[in-house]
């Protein structure tokens, strides 16, 4: 009952905020979040982080002196539906810029509709190489996550034989294509490579192959539930003694699902962890807790990325002097700004950023080291 009352109160206050916002808002920004579908887990924290960014931007005078109002749409749906929802915001509600946290299929569908006529910031971890007009990327690409981290781990953990395992689609395959180069350059070798369909929920035969390969390091590009199931079985077989694990999308929720018993020698590389230190990150975490309560949906690199996206939009619009795509494209290269992640630079319309390597052994991420200003090799030519 209490819960119901709270929900009612919350929805009433959101409506009140929307009404109040509509009265004074000058710039509407469309924020595309997954409320449903496989990434639906990250919807609530993505929304919260975006709200927090809007508060910070508005408190600082808005974009070019005009207050911003966020308009959300659910893009955890098939690409065509997501494009329709975005189109409604753009043409129907007069949204002037978009920030999106969704998969690549949805991004391509959106770009087909936007056609370079509206600025669009894409924020999640992704495979790289998206270079449409008006598109700016804050998410980590495989080269950023791996180029500094693989040599570091090979040296620090004294490992050299890598087994690559991922789900069967382009992000894991693109990631591993790059990883092979970094492993080779650092004097290691790849002893196995495997891609699993999303429908597979047992990993016994893959674990057996890893065991027989003699690998002492495993690069994991399985996502979500597959990553949880794989890592639980991996530790269950005592394989954590044989090999370290490195994941490029093992965020806080996935780690919690794997459980502290099963995370020994499990590393993750990302542009953000809720446990990163530094003044900006600490302020951000404190503001988040103050705004949404101690029980708020936990932050991770995906949820937090919408904050990054809005901050980039703000910095870029300020430098360009408008939300016009041509002006923003002209101003994009070399733009620098600071966020909870650290100091960022826009190069090739991708975000050069600090990359953190964290150890999940204790069941929570502890940052081992960080690499400042890592640029993406999958960025754009212009």
């Amino acid at each position: 009952m209490l819960n119901k009352t709270l929900r009612l109160l919350a929805s009433t206050s959101i409506v009140a905020m929307m009404v109040a916002g509509a009265a004074q808002a000058d710039i509407k920004v469309g924020v595309l979040v997954p409320d449903s579908g496989p990434a639906g887990l990250f919807g609530p924290s993505t929304r919260n982080a975006a709200e927090l960014a809007a508060q910070v931007i508005n408190a600082g005078g808005g974009i070019k002196g005009e207050q911003i109002e966020l308009v959300f749409a659910d893009v955890g749906v098939p690409p065509a539906e997501a494009a329709q929802a975005a189109l409604r915001l753009w043409k129907g509600e007069g949204v002037q810029a978009f920030v999106g946290m969704h998969d690549s299929a949805v991004r391509e569908a959106l770009l087909g509709r936007f056609n370079g006529e509206v600025p669009f910031v894409y924020t999640p971890v992704y495979e790289g190489g998206a270079c449409a007009d008006g598109l700016y990327v804050t998410g980590e690409t495989p080269s950023q996550q791996l180029a500094p981290v693989i040599p570091y781990l090979m040296d620090a953990e004294k490992v050299s034989k890598w087994y690559l395992i991922g789900h069967d689609y382009n992000w894991p395959r693109d990631t591993n294509a790059l990883a092979k180069g970094y492993i080779g350059e650092a004097g290691g070798e790849v002893v196995g490579e495997e891609y699993l369909p999303f429908s597979v929920a047992e990993f016994d035969s893959s674990l057996q192959r890893i065991k027989e390969s003699g690998a002492d390091a495993v690069l994991i590009t399985l996502v979500g539930g597959g990553s949880v199931g794989f890592n639980v079985s991996f530790a269950g077989f005592g394989m954590d003694k044989q090999a370290i694990r490195l994941g490029t999308l093992i965020e806080e929720n996935t780690l919690a699902g794997i459980g502290a018993d099963n995370t020994k020698r499990l590393f993750s590389t990302s542009g953000y962890f809720s446990s990163i230190e530094g003044e900006a990150a600490a302020t951000f975490a404190a503001d988040y807790a103050a705004a949404f309560g101690a029980d708020a949906p936990a932050l991770n690199t995906l949820g937090q990325s919408s904050y990054e996206g809005l901050m980039l939009l703000d910095a870029l619009a300020e430098k360009a002097g408008s939300l016009d795509v041509a002006a923003m494209d002209a101003a994009a290269e070399g733009l620098t700004w600071a966020t909870p992640r650290g100091d960022n630079t826009l190069t090739g319309r991708h975000m050069a950023q600090t990359i953190y390597l964290a150890d999940g052994s204790s069941g929570a991420f502890e940052v081992v080291t960080s690499f400042a200003n890592v640029a993406s090799s999958e960025a754009c030519a212009n």
């Binding site: 639906g40 887990l41 495997e194 369909p197 429908s199 077989f237 005592g238 919690a256």
Partner: protein
């Protein structure tokens, strides 16, 4: 090789445990229970419920059975009992129940993943291969459970009574079978075995509100292949389905393993829709 055989035994016995409840509810009561996987899911959440209630770990099994039984009994009395003999209607109704259960669990525990500690950690040496001790204990528990069930099934008249009840409810009542109580008991028992399967598997799998669908699909495949209505059919079905995935997954790739399972299921539905064994027709 040893590990392959042990994996095979693990996959087959856990699938048998998961599919048992569906074999009873679908095979005997003719309720196409689309919420079967959700009872596995609730069972997997039992350790989390137990620790949230501040109860000691050894109460996980009672908590699991009580929770699943209460939920199953509620739905049996309110919805399912009106649907005996109406298989398609039962499919739609239980699909709705499945969605409802997922939403309730999400409301209570959140959408995120949960984790359950292995009660018996470590690995043991089996003929030179390191194998998780917990898995070996679970396999032993399942084997004992099935042996007991087979023994009871042979001696008791309940299976015959259920068959009579489903075939001709009025006649069954006339000869003194309390059909209401019998069907409720069979439904709740079937759901409870699914819950216990979830509890046993919990430390070895991912746990989230939407996890049930995997278990429903694999159970359904096993029943399609094995045939409805007998323990032997269930055994054959789970052996073929779990065995195909394990063996082809080990020697070729997981993709081919899954492809083979789908092909096998489609061939059976097409050419032998009653499965290998079917005692109830």
């Amino acid at each position: 090789m040893t590990v392959l055989i042990l994996n095979l035994i693990w996959q087959i016995s856990t699938l048998a445990m998961v599919a048992l409840g569906l074999a009873i509810v679908f095979g005997k009561l003719r309720i196409m229970n689309m919420a079967h996987g959700e009872f596995v899911m609730i069972g997997a959440y039992a350790p989390i419920i137990t620790s949230n209630l501040g109860l000691p770990m050894w109460l996980q099994l009672p908590v699991c059975i009580v929770t699943v039984a209460l939920v199953a009994l509620l739905f049996e009395r309110v919805i399912i009992r009106h649907l005996y003999g109406r298989m398609f209607d039962s499919l739609l109704a239980t699909w709705g129940i499945a969605i409802l259960l997922r939403e309730v669990v999400e409301l209570l525990f959140g959408r995120g993943y949960q984790s359950v500690s292995v009660p018996i950690p470590g690995t043991v040496d089996v003929l030179g291969a390191q194998y998780p001790l917990y898995r070996i204990v679970v396999v032993a528990v399942i084997l004992v459970g099935f042996a007991a069930l087979a023994w009871w099934n042979r001696r008791s008249k309940v299976a015959t009574q259920i068959k009579a009840m489903v075939g001709n409810p009025e006649l069954a009542q006339a000869v003194g079978i309390n059909t209401g109580r019998l069907s409720a008991a069979a439904f709740v028992f079937g759901c409870c075995t699914a819950g216990v399967a979830g509890l046993l598997l919990a430390p070895t799998i991912r746990i989230e509100p939407v996890m049930g669908i995997d278990y429903l699909i694999r159970s359904f495949f096993a029943l399609v292949v094995g045939g409805l209505g007998s323990l032997e059919g269930l055994g054959l079905g789970v052996t073929l389905i779990a065995g195909t995935q394990s063996v082809i997954g080990a020697f070729a790739s997981q993709t081919y393993g899954y492809l083979a399972v789908l092909t096998l299921s489609i061939l059976f539905l097409w050419l032998k829709p009653d499965g290998i064994r079917s005692s109830s027709r």
